[in-house]
């Protein structure tokens, strides 16, 4: 028995070495030549697009970050593809527009999580409580105040509710250092979940079905989700590329250095949470308009909070656009590629992917692609 265990131990201990050898030879013999070929093919494209990118860099580079020719092509291409999806997506698959609309909402969540958790390093495990606050506020207003209230009234109040709850969580917890913040956010979402299921006045398990969806037209619905998402992406990218982003990253890397710089880290941590709560609230309002139902499973459960983190991790934390890409990849895999499988199997695969990214590509897939594109320079040829 013992010798079997020892034998097994010996075999297992050689496995990591083997894996490294294999990974090394794969890198040398497969990835490197592919990379070099891609470089050769893409360098002229990069050079050709550089003047356009330079035009952008001169006007907007300071505000949203500078780009190389290829990076500009990726962003511009993705933007055009998203804006014209109403035309081409139905030709690809009947459900694609729905998937893209859902991905837009989740992209808002992932980016909102990122500006706070990804940038400051104070990881929130309970962000879904913010979108839930907005969703439940909308539902409660319709049920208990007036079912005829217009979106123009319910939406701002709902976003405000997300902000207020965000501040309630952030004000006491972000004064603390270390793991307390993460634990408090985690407890907050568990509390909110039990609250919504315990009291029928809060809808209980079935929730509220009284809110209306924005529209039944899939194309219109998609644009209702896409346009706010793009505006939020623009606003958060602008913030992240400013002094604010610099200070938030510095808090993550070395909080005491931020104090030594004469900057109040607590104030900036709380501000980042507020800045995150507002788009979380907008996302919550959109989710109501997408599903037409406000219930614990759609809005509150802690799985939602973890899914946002997964999307940000897959795309690349602390980059805003990485989590955006991560959300679209996650939802595309979930609802288009894997739609034939049962929910548990789909999530088994998706969490496996998150684990792989965490182990092998810690900067995230989209950040990796972004830096790879940036490294293709015409002059290298």
């Amino acid at each position: 028995m013992i010798s079997t265990i020892l034998l097994l131990g010996t075999i297992l201990s050689t496995v990591p070495g083997r894996i490294e050898d294999v990974a090394g030879s794969v890198r040398r013999n497969v990835l490197l030549p592919i990379g070099q070929t891609l470089d050769r093919l893409l360098a002229p494209v990069d050079r050709a697009l550089q003047p356009v990118a330079d035009g952008y860099n001169r006007r907007l580079g300071t505000y949203f970050g500078e780009m190389t020719g290829l990076q500009f092509a990726l962003i511009f291409g993705a933007l055009i593809a998203l804006l014209t999806a109403g035309l081409w997506a139905p030709l690809v698959s009947g459900s694609l527009l729905r998937t893209l609309a859902l991905a837009s909402i989740w992209a808002i969540f992932a980016m909102s999580w990122d500006i706070q958790s990804g940038y400051t390093g104070y990881i929130s495990f309970g962000h879904s409580v913010l979108s839930a606050a907005a969703g439940y506020t909308t539902a409660l207003l319709l049920v208990h105040v007036n079912p005829e209230l217009s979106l123009w009234i319910t939406a701002p109040i709902s976003v405000l509710a997300a902000l207020v709850l965000g501040l309630l969580i952030a004000l006491p917890s972000l004064r603390l250092e270390g793991p307390y913040f993460s634990l408090i956010t985690f407890v907050a979402v568990l509390l909110f979940y039990r609250l919504t299921t315990a009291f029928t006045s809060l809808g209980g398990i079935p929730g509220f079905s009284s809110p209306d969806v924005f529209t039944w037209d899939p194309t219109m619905r998609y644009y209702y989700m896409l346009v706010p998402m793009l505006l939020i992406a623009l606003a958060l990218t602008f913030m992240a590329r400013s002094n604010l982003g610099m200070i938030l990253v510095a808090i993550r890397e070395n909080e005491s250095a931020v104090s030594a710089a004469g900057i109040n880290p607590t104030k900036f941590k709380i501000w980042s949470f507020a800045l995150s709560s507002i788009p979380m609230g907008i996302g919550g309002v959109l989710l109501v308009g997408f599903t037409g139902n406000v219930d614990p499973h759609t809005f509150v459960i802690v799985d939602n909070s973890i899914e946002m983190i997964a999307m940000a991790v897959i795309g690349g934390m602390s980059s805003i656009l990485g989590p955006l890409g991560g959300a679209f990849l996650f939802e595309f895999l979930n609802h288009e590629v894997l739609h034939g499988f049962s929910t548990p199997v789909r999530y088994l695969f998706l969490w496996g992917l998150v684990l792989l990214v965490l182990v092998f590509a810690r900067d995230g897939l989209f950040r990796m692609i972004w830096h790879r594109l940036g490294a293709v320079r015409g002059e290298n040829e």
Partner: protein, 242 residues
């Protein structure tokens, strides 16, 4: 006029008294050396002044303002800056970015403030790392990382600088060069306290020396007096030489 007044400072960690009833006055334009064997409480004094630690007893005034209960960033914004013993640059940012962070205003509305490239160059030039601005901190030799720490402190435009073991790990040529630069800061009007565990780098730099031993003030006087002080020599006998 006293720029910094530390009065009856006591710091206890549980049962351990790290600093015991320590007082220190620093005049405008002075360079004061604060020395003592390892573990004598020098860095604790700095940490109390900068509010890294809460003070157990005693008061600290800067320019007549009580700063005992201020937060670190408030003290920095009042014109007191400390260069700590450990270098802690942010490795994600180049030297210029590390300096820039220290010029950013403490305001969530200021999205585009902070020093211009020319101003960052000026801060770096005062400590001779202006040709390293685009390098990453982890590529710099030790002495340049230490210079970066000083450049960061300069970028907060301090009236007074607390230097914690600035010469540690430097060779004699680097020590002489840095001592010259510190002397220049004084000529520009800055007041400076330098902590060191021996007199090596301080002898020709400081106006006077305060000696700390086991958290208490042991002696004070000119560098020459301290070098010959019997009690100071005995205190150091336990550890390394003066």
């Amino acid at each position: 006029m006293s720029v910094l007044e530390v009065d009856g400072l006591t710091k206890r960690f549980g049962g351990l008294v790290a600093v015991d009833d320590f007082s220190l006055d620093v005049e405008q334009g002075e360079i004061v050396g604060l020395i003592g064997p390892n573990g004598s409480g020098k860095s604790t004094v700095f940490n109390c002044i900068m509010s890294i630690y809460d003070v157990t007893e005693g008061t600290i005034q800067f320019n007549g303002d009580a700063i005992t209960d201020d937060k670190t960033h408030e003290i920095v914004n009042k014109g007191l800056s400390r260069v700590s013993q450990e270098s802690n640059p942010i490795d994600l940012y180049p030297v210029a970015g590390n300096i820039k962070l220290f010029t950013l205003p403490n305001s969530i509305r200021s999205l585009r403030g902070g020093a211009s490239d020319e101003e960052i160059y000026e801060y770096a030039a005062r400590i001779d790392i202006e040709d390293k601005l685009q390098e990453m901190p982890d590529e710099l030799p030790h002495a340049d990382v230490r210079r970066l720490e000083i450049a960061k402190a300069l970028a907060t435009e301090p009236e007074m600088l607390l230097l914690d073991e600035p010469f540690a790990g430097m060779n004699q040529a680097e020590i002489n060069e840095l001592a010259g630069q510190i002397e220049r800061f004084r000529e520009e009007g800055m007041t400076i306290v330098v902590v060191d565990h021996n007199m090596g780098g301080l002898m020709n730099l400081v106006d006077r020396v305060v000696v700390l031993n086991n958290g208490e003030m042991l002696a004070a006087g000119s560098p020459e007096e301290i070098a010959e002080n019997q009690r100071v020599q005995e205190a150091y006998l336990a550890g390394e030489g003066l």
